[in-house]
């Protein structure tokens, strides 16, 4: 990616973020539920109508939509996402405390997923249409059809409760509390990923250079590890980026099951409590992270793929 492409990408990202922020703001604006009441309900007192109206005025909730939006946007850009209605703390600090655990969980389950799906996909591709292949494909098909929240519940019941291997509730820090949530997340993802690894490797195995390598008498193992695998890896990196992004959204269900103190469970409780500033900031943060990850993935192509790298050198020389 050269400078021009990078600028276009950044511009696009900014437009998308603006669009997303407008959309979530509109959603919360149109939503039922009275934030002022929610706020007072959290503090335990319900004042009379007049005080409610005054608070509403003071919070700027009576102003026209666009003015509210721009006020919120300008303070958000300065890092001030407002105050949470239900927890009475600045939204930014609540989010900051939850982002870490979710990123760790996402990272951990991603590693787990790679450890499962790369060998499985490779094996299935090499043994195409034989027992191993059918076995791997069968398991990954099941993985795609089982709801991940049910997998989570089964793990809680059998592994945590019956066998007592891991804590039932994943509050607090510590790797042992991350194992079951990560396994749950990795389960469904590996199913999808194994299929893609298999397809990518099969695609490469059909290329001419593999025949060339074979005719030169190279060992199958060498061909697979030195030639096929690095080539198959490239499309998979895009997918890692995408799955990291969907992980950020998909952790919600799993975090709720294991009471894991991450962004997802925060979002669910924020929505249940009509805590609009928190919801808006959450959606915006996830959008931002997601786009950042995709940008990094796109940039990494340039470093990883010699075809793109060398191509750019030639392009720059001629330009």
């Amino acid at each position: 990616m050269n400078v021009k492409q990078l600028t276009t990408r950044l511009m696009q990202a900014i437009i998308v973020l603006l669009g997303i922020s407008l959309m979530t703001f509109m959603l919360t604006y149109l939503a039922p539920g009275d934030p002022v009441r929610t706020m007072y309900a959290a503090s335990g007192v319900m004042p009379d109508k007049e005080t409610l109206e005054k608070t509403r005025e003071a919070m700027g909730l009576n102003e026209p939509f666009m003015i509210q939006y721009f006020k919120w946007l300008s303070s958000s850009l300065q890092g001030d996402f407002g105050t949470s209605y239900s927890m009475n703390k600045p939204v930014a600090s609540i989010l900051m405390s939850r982002i870490g655990p979710t990123l760790w969980l996402a990272f951990f389950s991603l590693i787990l997923m790679l450890l499962i799906s790369v060998p499985a996909g490779l094996l299935a591709a090499v043994r195409q249409n034989r027992f191993t292949d059918y076995f791997v494909r069968g398991i990954s098909f099941l993985g795609l059809s089982i709801p991940n929240f049910w997998v989570g519940l089964l793990l809680v019941y059998f592994v945590a409760f019956k066998l007592g291997l891991f804590p039932v509730v994943s509050m607090g820090a510590g790797i042992d509390k991350m194992v079951l949530p990560a396994v749950t997340l990795a389960f469904a993802m590996s199913a999808k990923y194994t299929r893609q690894v298999r397809a990518a490797v099969l695609e490469e195995l059909n290329q001419d250079y593999v025949n060339g390598a074979r005719s030169r008498g190279l060992k199958e193992k060498t061909i697979l590890i030195r030639h096929v695998f690095p080539n198959a890896l490239l499309p998979l990196i895009t997918l890692i980026g995408l799955s990291l992004g969907s992980l950020l959204g998909g952790t919600a269900v799993v975090e709720v099951i294991f009471s894991y103190p991450g962004l997802g469970s925060l979002a669910v409780s924020a929505i249940t409590a009509y805590d609009y500033p928190l919801i808006q900031a959450y959606v915006l943060w996830i959008a931002f992270l997601y786009m950042l990850i995709n940008l990094i993935v796109d940039l990494s192509y340039g470093f990883l793929d010699p075809r793109i790298r060398e191509g750019r050198k030639i392009y720059e020389k001629n330009a």
């Binding site: 669009g19 997303i20 059809s145 709801p147 519940l153 809680v156 019941y157 959204g249 959450y282 959008a287």
Partner: protein
């Protein structure tokens, strides 16, 4: 009749799966006829009865029969996910075809909105939309519709663009065919097969997403007999009464497996690219 038999012989897997889907639908539709215990009859005296005897799958915290609730749950799951799939298919196709055919401003607006939705994890938005609009099966369907139509619109648009500038389209235009007629006569038949196959293989995923929203409490509302909601309600008690969690989960899996298999085999039959492999 003979042609049908030939088709069945040629595509055994597809025939068996269609029969299974038919059986599922039949079970769901005929539930009131053969299930004697109502899924909403609560009797606190019978709360948390283990499976067996009169209550095949046991009873829940209100003494409601879990078997009856699981079977009735199929009615909600099947209708809502079919409704969702058809709406996504419809909305995506209409927007995609119009964007591709007319181009210009319509195309830009539709595709920029689609880009925006795609560059964002869908489930996050679905949770936010469903949660903010309030919990109900319909709102969950709308929430997933909002985040899922883009895939179909992009597909429909790309298929339309392939034939948009063919001679026969220009011939139709020169001979005075109306746009609407061209859309119906040439564009729609061209995109439908691919889109229907995509939709068929997405039913399972849609079902899982709907159940996921209900599980979080942003879908079906109590006392509705819905699988995701049943898992949500049973979660608190599952340490002591695991059957509250086992059976509804099994039900989801079985139905999703059947629909996923059906989608795969439909693709094998209709997708010409797979034949060469």
């Amino acid at each position: 009749m003979k042609r049908m038999l030939d088709f069945v012989r040629l595509h055994k897997q597809f025939a068996i799966l269609s029969a299974l889907v038919f059986l599922l639908i039949l079970t769901a539709v005929s539930a009131p006829l053969w299930i004697k215990i109502s899924p909403y009859d609560s009797n606190l005296k019978d709360a948390f009865l283990p499976p067996g005897g009169e209550h095949l799958f046991g009873t829940d915290k209100l003494g409601r029969d879990v078997f009856s609730r699981v079977i009735y749950g199929s009615r909600i799951s099947l209708t809502s996910s079919l409704l969702l799939t058809i709406s996504v298919l419809f909305l995506g196709t209409v927007l995609g075809i119009t964007a591709g055919y007319f181009g210009g401003v319509i195309d830009t607006v539709v595709m920029r909105i689609a880009d925006m939705l795609i560059s964002f994890p869908g489930m996050v938005l679905a949770i936010a939309v469903a949660g903010i609009m309030g919990a109900s099966t319909m709102n969950a369907v709308i929430a997933i519709l909002i985040v899922s139509w883009t895939k179909y619109a992009r597909l429909a648009r790309s298929l339309v663009l392939k034939i948009r500038h063919k001679d026969y389209i220009y011939a139709a235009l020169t001979t005075g065919s109306k746009n609407l007629y061209i859309l119906k006569k040439y564009m729609l038949p061209n995109v439908m097969p691919t889109l229907i196959v995509t939709a068929a293989s997405d039913i399972g995923t849609m079902m899982l997403e709907l159940a996921g929203l209900s599980f979080l409490g942003f879908g079906a509302k109590p006392p509705l007999a819905e699988w995701g909601l049943m898992l949500n309600e049973g979660r608190i008690y599952m340490m002591d009464y695991p059957w509250l969690m086992i059976y509804p989960g099994f039900a989801i899996c079985i139905v999703v497996v059947i629909f996923n298999l059906l989608g795969d085999s439909l693709r094998d039959i209709l997708d010409p690219r797979n034949k060469t492999k």
